[in-house]
Symmetry: C2
Subunit: 554 residues, 2 copies
């Protein structure tokens, strides 16, 4: 007997299972924001829905509520004025424990069915959530729609598919029949029951609350765990809207909605640490700083901890057919969402003697100028520029730009741009600074934001050696190579595999190194300090459940 929600969404699940087996292109949730896809008036209704939330308490009926918290401010220059339930952790977690009882026993098909139903409902709310994401993260609207909507939903679906793929391979039972020579065999009936690990804790970030949050949320939920979602104080709303939808899906399926709860808090307190150290919490999914991630890895040893932390992403330029195409592609990667992506490149290694192109040798200065010109051209029109850049999420970014300006010769200075619609927003264009390979103390840490360094190396061998070592020691989510030489490509592949970093080779078209496609690209490898897990693979889900057996003679 299958669960009705499992039946309802089985075709989607089956197609997702095919996608993770093949890892070619596939997407379930359409990334086009067109009314032809999402329906006439849906965009406007979503925006209105978001606006109706502003300036008042967010409607979320949770037990253990002892007041209200929340001081989000849009990076576009205004306070959201929304407050959220403040949780008494003891009371809330007691209610979660109660809710877990029925959820644990419901079994994999119910868990997966409810997750798929929740994802479909989240998809229908994509426009509202996109506005919430735009006004918490600072992403431009279209990016907020795509990356925080369908792309994040696809990542959630991917996690559910991996979870189901692991769970379905545990047989429900077996007849164990051991031959006994000429005598009757010993026969036992065995039953294998999948049980959840406990409570999953999702710790959100302020730049990609849904894209980085959904995989952990749905991987834990699909394996029978309860989930507590703790958003970053700067980006609560997108996850609050998500939690509310998931709770609705749970309740409509007859489950206690407290299987999924929100713990909002304001900056500067120890809510994350207190939650992480609760013995009920047996799974943690974290995106944020290296310091906080490493703290969790060291201290929350009672839980399985999945982290995505800081890293140093790198581009090695060795040679190119078309330098202008290289520059255009790199310029977009540096500019997109003001470089506030964990996958955005920072260090660009170029041989001091220049690089070969189809138009002859380009000097180091030529390459630096081409990239600077590429950025300037991409962002020449302020109205278009703000749709690429979005807004600066927090003051830390502008402070880092100021500090980075003093590190070396500026190839391209960061400019402040006025947003036509949001004059209060802080909009900054990329800063590009020239450094020498010897200045490792300057470029071997993460400068999160629109900050990049063009670094003069002796040759490509040195570029790759630095990149390999940096990824191994400081972490990296992406590595990009431009080279027409197959031997250099092989050397880069070897460096990438040794350092455990995803490599993109000769991106000059419509794909950018900071983009990672659900169902195809593994985001992070878990093999260097930037992330201890990959989105999404078997290792990301297999430990979220356990198998408990009983056996008896038949």
């Amino acid at each position: 007997m299958t669960h009705p929600l499992f039946d309802k969404h089985q075709a989607t699940l089956d197609r997702a299972l095919q996608a993770i087996a093949e890892r070619g292109y596939w997407s379930h949730f359409p990334e086009s924001a067109s009314p032809k896809v999402y329906g006439e008036g849906t965009a406007e209704a979503g925006k209105a829905g978001y606006e109706a939330l502003l300036g008042k308490p967010f409607d979320l009926d949770q037990p253990g509520t002892v007041g209200q918290v929340g001081k989000e401010r849009s990076p576009y220059g205004f306070d959201l004025g929304i407050t959220y339930p403040k949780a008494d952790l003891d009371a809330l977690l007691a209610a979660v424990a109660e809710a877990q009882q029925g959820w644990r026993k419901a079994g994999p098909q119910a868990w997966v069915g409810v997750c798929l139903e929740a994802l479909e409902r989240i998809n229908k709310a994509s426009f509202g959530i996109a506005n919430a994401v735009m006004h918490t993260t600072g992403q431009a609207f279209l990016m907020a729609f795509q990356a925080a909507g369908p792309h994040a939903q696809d990542r959630g679906l991917e996690a559910v598919a991996y979870a189901w793929d692991e769970m379905r391979r545990v047989p429900a039972g077996a007849l164990w029949e051991k031959p006994q020579g000429k005598g009757d065999p010993i026969r036992m009936e065995k039953r294998f029951r999948i049980v959840p690990r406990g409570v999953g804790l999702v710790i959100g970030c302020c730049t990609f609350p849904t894209w980085n949050g959904y995989p952990g949320l749905f991987a834990s939920l699909a394996t029978g765990n309860a989930v507590v979602v703790k958003p970053h104080p700067g980006a609560i709303l997108p996850l609050a809207m998500t939690v509310k939808i998931v709770r609705g899906a749970l309740a409509d399926a007859g489950f206690d909605p407290n299987v999924v709860t929100l713990v909002a808090h304001e900056a500067g307190d120890d809510t994350a640490q207190r939650l992480a150290m609760r013995p009920e919490v047996r799974l943690i999914d974290f995106t944020g700083s290296s310091a906080n991630g490493a703290w969790l890895e060291r201290n929350a040893t009672h839980a399985l901890v999945f982290t995505e932390k800081a890293g140093v992403n790198q581009i090695v330029i060795d040679s190119a057919d078309d330098l202008a195409a290289v520059a255009r592609n790199v310029a977009f990667s540096l500019s997109l969402y003001t470089g506030q992506m964990c996958t955005a490149p920072q260090n660009i290694y170029v041989p001091a003697g220049g690089v070969a192109t189809k138009d002859g040798r380009a000097s180091f200065e030529d390459v630096a100028k081409a990239i600077a010109d590429g950025v300037a051209k991409l962002l020449g029109d302020p109205a278009r520029a703000v749709e690429v850049l979005g807004a600066v999420q927090n003051d830390g970014v502008t402070r880092r730009i100021d500090a980075a300006r003093k590190l070396g010769t500026i190839v391209l200075d960061s400019q402040a741009i006025a947003h036509p619609a949001f004059p209060q927003a802080t909009i900054r264009t990329p800063l590009v600074v020239k450094l020498d390979a010897g200045e490792r103390d300057k470029y071997l840490s993460e400068w999160f934001g629109p900050i990049s360094f063009i670094i003069a190396t002796k040759d490509t061998a040195e570029s790759l050696a630095i990149a390999r070592k940096a990824a191994k020691e400081h972490g990296a989510l992406t590595l990009s190579l431009y080279s027409t030489d197959p031997k250099v490509q092989e050397a880069a592949i070897d460096a990438a595999e040794d350092a455990g970093v995803a490599l993109s080779i000769n991106l000059t078209g419509g794909v950018f190194v900071n983009q990672s496609a659900a169902f195809s690209d593994f985001h992070g490898t878990g093999a260097n300090p930037a992330a201890n897990a990959a989105l999404t693979d078997a290792a990301y889900v297999a430990g979220r459940f356990r198998v408990v057996q009983h056996r008896r003679h038949v």
Copy 2:
């Protein structure tokens, strides 16, 4: 192009994959020690081979050797007199790093092929290893042959099968083709390469060096990692013989044998901690005390740590058709290998008012007497008794027997038996002590050895409540129930699933609660403090490798 060793063993692998998918009865390595199975003279040759090792340095050519260590003493009463290379860890791990280069690049088929070849060679050495296990662990010969030979080899094969099952589902590559409306699609070629995590460390125990050691050894090796094996100072020889065979298989396949190395040491030093804290070590498989296991979990946070620690295994007696059959089965579980098994039962809960049987009500005292009589009958003939009991592995066991005698009324006292062949061996029969349910401080910790408590409870509901709480808080690998009442069985199943412990119901035949069959029973669940992992499931292998991709336009 497949690897020749992969081809050679593919039929075995395929059958093992079927077995883990079904988890019915299957075994690859025959457990019968008969000459009809293993060949005439094989047993004698194995024994002679073991005897030839005594009293001299073990021949193992490893780099970084700085002297000799080893002071093993047979529990049957004599010194083995074997010494092993003492490793300079810096020098040894430098050689391991060198060996890793070629191994990492060989890929999954080579890794799996070499593992399967090594297991076949280990199987051929079963008799020699059985003698080594007997004279380090104290197991009786037949148990040493079966549990440390074919059963351990099956567990190793199971780990390889799970590893391959996870790795084979990562496609080698994909064509990613994203539609672009009316334009040409974006086409990218992606390659997904499986890379190992680093160095695996296997920390062996003194009672089941191979059965508990092989799963980690082969799970790490089959996923491309190098492995350092650190045996317990009391049981080095079985793992030294194993490491030597695996090194031979590696060398014959053209790999640097230092992919697998042995670090032997003597009791009382910090070799385990020093190895565990090496940054190269990224995987740890540990069997041993709760204190040492918890230390690793708390401190070796740079590694994935799999532990099996202490636990309190329990039997709940509610009712029975045939009390004598219950007593016979329990008596064997208490006696086998002098209770020196991580799965051996310790606490036996019986309602103070007695239990229903097909012959009418049996009082609490009747049940206690039946079990005591069962043990006495099983072990009545000393010559037969020593083949069940084996020898006491270490003095800690006899000291615990002495201490436990003072805890309550003795139902059956532990006797010293003389071994007909080994007069110096310490042989002890089980101690059974009566306690009251209120005396939790006495019975809620592990009394490793032939020590059990028959505990008077108010009723079966209290028995199950205590058992559930004890398993959750103190850990347990096994739970056993005797009840003819389906409702009680359901309640026990619920308690077992909540506490994450494997349950056996009404074992009265030829299966014992302390036995766990490869390819069918999950040994440990990872869901309570006794073990953070299960032998063997997907979660045990999925994190031992990583996937690193590269992509480019086509």
